[in-house]
Subunit: 133 residues, 2 copies
Amino acid sequence: MMAQRPRIRIDPASGVPAVRQIADSLRVLLVEGQLVPGTELPSVRRIAMELGVHFNTVAEAYRQLAAEGWLDLKHGRGAVVVARAVPAVNNRARTEDFRNRLRGMVAQMRSQGISADRIAAELRAMAKRVTRS
Amino acid sequence: MMAQRPRIRIDPASGVPAVRQIADSLRVLLVEGQLVPGTELPSVRRIAMELGVHFNTVAEAYRQLAAEGWLDLKHGRGAVVVARAVPAVNNRARTEDFRNRLRGMVAQMRSQGISADRIAAELRAMAKRVTRS
DNA sequence: GTACATTGTATATGTACACTATACAATGAT
DNA sequence: ATCATTGTATAGTGTACATATACAATGTAC
């Protein structure tokens, strides 16, 4: 199976560390099924080149995703997406945490001037997207 | 007007810095109108005591909110909520950013095992909550 | 099979941020 | 005036981020 070219992008001005941006971007693709088990990811140096960061930064992101069970890192051979048993625990604490973080994000957007209607529309669109994925 | 007691809480294990947790929590209350203009906030030392952090940490959060236009800090007198002219700019870039962050957060929750249905329900509930606030 | 290119790994260094400690300055009540 | 209370300013310490550089594992070319 050939190495895909996941279109990930990072924003240096966002304040969010590059490691987390990379891990977050890849996690989105993994969760949404755009990166399926068996796929070989590009090497850390290749992605680092494209993003303009050091390869160790990408390697750290890979390690985080490997720790979450998404990737299998093989020394000298690269990184492969693995079939992951998603924990089916519907933890109440995690849901609570999700709700709070969502509230925080919405508040931040409102504070920046995005209208309530616009935000609500985005939330509904995302809800629809999640259910059909 | 008496000083209210905003029920904010921080989670030391979340990895999110305390400063941001405090600022985020207060911003939620401000955006949602649970803290109205004219309200005197508790002193930085009082909140710091309740949260178990140093008062300078709370002071920094206050300064951030003051920079956003939510608070008026008065040396020796405390912090007061001010009437804030919310910028009405519906920036497209900001909306884009919001969408991406939302995707990332949803992916993280899915990765942690929360079901798609549960997430969708939370998103819809938040959408409803936003529109009526 | 040996050299070589390519891959992920490990360690060290500089920088930025978070958090705390401590001293300071402004305000209002006694 | 004195004092307690408030936010402010500066310095010190620890941790995370990012890079540089050397290392180890793998597969291929010859």
